[in-house]
């Protein structure tokens, strides 16, 4: 059996409310919140980035896995906000975990899909019997341009998953990937904020790929929406995943545990992986879970997992996603938020 042997997440403690962003730019808060189904989002502390978030998520994943960290043979981090343009995030994380030098490391990028990309490769490495255990992390501290719709959603957080053959808590039943060249969202080298195609990000981008991957993996695995206990879709805002789920034939209660975007925001590469982590927090042995990511550019990775008995033994060893979301958040006003995110021009 190949699957996940440990999982863990990390979300920063700082938040900004959608109301405060809306007021800053003269938008009506109620209209924005209703339109995007977003209430607030996580904000990284001034000393947090994709590397520090990855470390904390990885530590939580290790707490839930009965393995020696040194047995991890591959470490992959997917992010669109790697702190360096040239110098891997993975080497720092591996050094903190104490798993160097005998480890294969790679940083991945594919907008919001980079996290599941890392999961896909980690799973493949274990399946090919190249390594005993492989760790995959999806983490981001993404930026939306001031006043842009993305500023209401772009947040910070991440999740880590260790794949292996022994002591599995969620078996991989099937995988499927779907990708085309679609210019729905991009950031050129050196540009501080990304650009996007507005309405073009919907039907020809998000929905085409999520629905394409979702329908294909259901067909490939010969499963129907009602066979699943839960489903998680990438969450660029509150509305898109609910709409995608409905169009694929899933009911609201199947989506609910992983639909954490209203209070977390869009953690990009950490979005659907953290929704999946929140779902594992409450899943029962035997449950089937569908996970479909989406990354602009564009593509989707789909996974079907089957939860095993072992999950009951390990899930309380680390903090759960809902606990991180509700643990005394520290709210920032827009000025503090702009300072934290480096949006204020300073003297050298």
């Amino acid at each position: 059996m190949i699957g996940i042997v440990g999982y863990g997440s990390y979300l920063p403690r700082f938040r900004i409310r959608a109301d405060d962003i809306a007021r800053q730019w003269g938008r009506d808060p109620e209209t924005v919140k209703r339109g995007l189904l977003l209430k607030e989002k996580t904000v990284p502390g001034p000393d947090e980035d994709t590397i520090t978030i990855s470390v904390e998520a990885a530590r939580n994943a290790l707490k839930r896995a009965d393995i020696e960290p040194g047995e991890i043979g591959s470490l992959y981090i997917g992010s669109e906000s790697h702190p360096y343009a040239v110098k891997p995030s993975g080497t720092v994380v591996a050094e903190v975990l104490g798993i160097t030098p005998e480890v294969h490391i790679a940083d991945y990028e594919f907008a919001c899909k980079a996290g599941t990309e890392a999961m896909f490769v980690a799973y493949s490495q274990v399946k090919a019997e190249l390594v005993k255990y492989a760790m995959a992390i999806g983490a981001d501290t993404s930026q939306g341009a001031p006043g842009d719709a993305l500023e209401f959603s772009a947040s910070a957080g991440g999740s880590a998953f260790i794949f292996g053959r022994e002591k599995v808590i969620a078996e991989v039943i099937d995988t499927y990937s779907y990708a085309t060249d679609t210019a729905d969202f991009w950031r050129r080298e050196g540009a501080f904020y990304p650009l996007h195609g507005g309405r073009f990000t919907g039907a020809p981008a998000y929905f085409k790929h999520i629905l394409g991957a979702g329908r294909a993996i259901l067909k490939k695995s010969n499963l129907k929406p009602e066979d699943f206990k839960y489903a998680v879709f990438h969450m660029p805002n509150g509305k898109f995943p609910l709409s995608a789920g409905k169009r694929l034939g899933f009911k609201r209660e199947q989506l609910e545990p992983g639909w954490i975007v209203p209070t977390m925001g869009n953690t990009y590469s950490g979005s659907s992986p953290t929704g999946f982590s929140a779902t594992l927090d409450i899943a029962k042995p035997g449950d089937l879970i569908l996970l479909v990511s989406f990354g602009s550019g564009a593509g989707s990775d789909a996974f079907i997992f089957k939860v095993t008995e072992r999950i009951e033994q390990v899930r309380d060893r680390a903090q759960k996603v809902q606990e991180m979301l509700s643990r005394e958040p520290i709210y920032l006003d827009y000025g503090q938020y702009a300072k934290f995110r480096g949006k204020i021009i300073m003297n050298e």
Partner: protein
């Protein structure tokens, strides 16, 4: 901080690796070549716990340039479970949240970047539990 020194200090800064004296059993952190207690020169590597409590603390209101945007912030002496004391920033809280004896957890954070183009230095800080 010059890059070679940063690289050399990775074990202590990233993993809280300390030296345990094979002669008297006491732990030195940061690791030393000669035991400050008995003069011993034989050590075994040990990793310190990520749990501890605040021994004393202070609030920084006038900071060095690298930290000036973070004021006011707190620096504490934290005693880890092994009895080793470290000086560290306590983050994700207001200065008034701190107190002597309060439990903390050690986390991995950015310390500072070397200007706009240099390396980013990482290390340990504490958060309240």
């Amino acid at each position: 901080m010059p890059t070679p020194r940063y690289t050399r200090e990775i074990p202590q800064r990233y993993r809280l690796e300390a030296n345990k004296c094979k002669n008297c059993g006491r732990i030195s952190f940061p690791p030393r070549q000669i035991c400050p207690h008995c003069g011993g020169r034989n050590f075994e590597r040990t990793r310190l716990s990520d749990q501890g409590k605040i021994v004393t603390f202070t609030t920084i209101r006038v900071a060095p340039t690298q930290y000036s945007s973070q004021v006011p912030y707190s620096i504490a002496i934290v005693e880890l479970n092994e009895g080793v004391r470290i000086t560290t920033q306590v983050v994700d809280c207001k200065p008034e949240d701190l107190g002597v004896g309060k439990p903390v957890k050690i986390v991995f954070r950015k310390m500072y970047p070397e200007g706009k183009t240099g390396i980013i230095c990482y290390g340990y800080k504490a958060v309240l539990v």
